[in-house]
Amino acid sequence: MCMNISVIYFSVLKKITGKSQEVIRLEKQMSAEDLFGLLSKKYPEMVRYKPYIRLSVNQEYLPFETRLKPDDEVVFITPVSGG
């Protein structure tokens, strides 16, 4: 079961990946945790931020175990600093 996931990058992850967003094609269903693992291979510097990151799927904070669905919009939220 294939699916496309849209990943958007902000702040330091935008700097690390050099991208604002990209579409990742998954060959099988997986969790956001798994997706992060996949991306970490592509962008090794992301790993250091893992302990601090929260997950957002379709603009909602959700646990990393969340299973992704086709066309989900995923953002890995590094520590925020608005205000």
């Binding site: 935008k14 925020v80 205000g83």
Partner: protein
């Protein structure tokens, strides 16, 4: 730019924010005796270093959704009459306002308490990131965090 506005709430995520008087006027109401307006702005120093400016990156659609949830929760909890939240995106040189909150209620106690809670929570919840520019270098807050964590204490 993202905006939500009805009779009770006004949320604006934008690279240009209206004047404080506009914020105050929105939350005023004949039933209200108290309005509190907090504004946060770029200051010229941080951790003993001279700051030349800030830059805010923002996941705007989600920031709008989270702001709505936040204003809704705070308004119910403190029985507020009207509530407003503006956040700037992009460049914010020294002195530039990046955050405005304005809350109204019949009496002063709830607006002061709610202001503190709102700011504490928005700093936790809104997907907005700050990059600080010092003389010669720019660092995201998360990069500074990692640097600090990796220093031997």
């Amino acid at each position: 730019m993202q905006e939500f506005k009805n009779g009770t709430y006004w949320i604006l995520i934008s690279d240009h924010l209206p004047e404080l008087s506009v914020a105050g006027a929105f939350v005023q109401d004949p039933s209200c005796g108290a309005v509190n307006i907090f504004s946060g702005m770029t200051r010229n120093h941080h951790d003993g270093k001279s700051v030349t400016g800030l830059y805010y990156d923002c996941y705007e659609e989600m920031a709008l959704k989270e702001s709505k949830k936040l204003l809704d929760a705070i308004t119910k909890e403190h029985n507020l009459t009207k509530a407003l939240l503006f956040h700037k995106t992009g460049d914010a040189p020294v002195g530039e306002i990046s955050l405005i909150t304005a809350l109204s209620a019949p009496h002063r106690k709830p607006v002061l308490e709610a202001t503190e809670e709102l700011i504490n929570r928005l700093k936790q919840e809104l997907p907005i990131w700050k990059k600080e520019s010092y003389k010669g270098e720019s660092l995201w807050k998360e990069e500074q965090l990692l640097k600090k964590e990796q220093q031997p204490s």
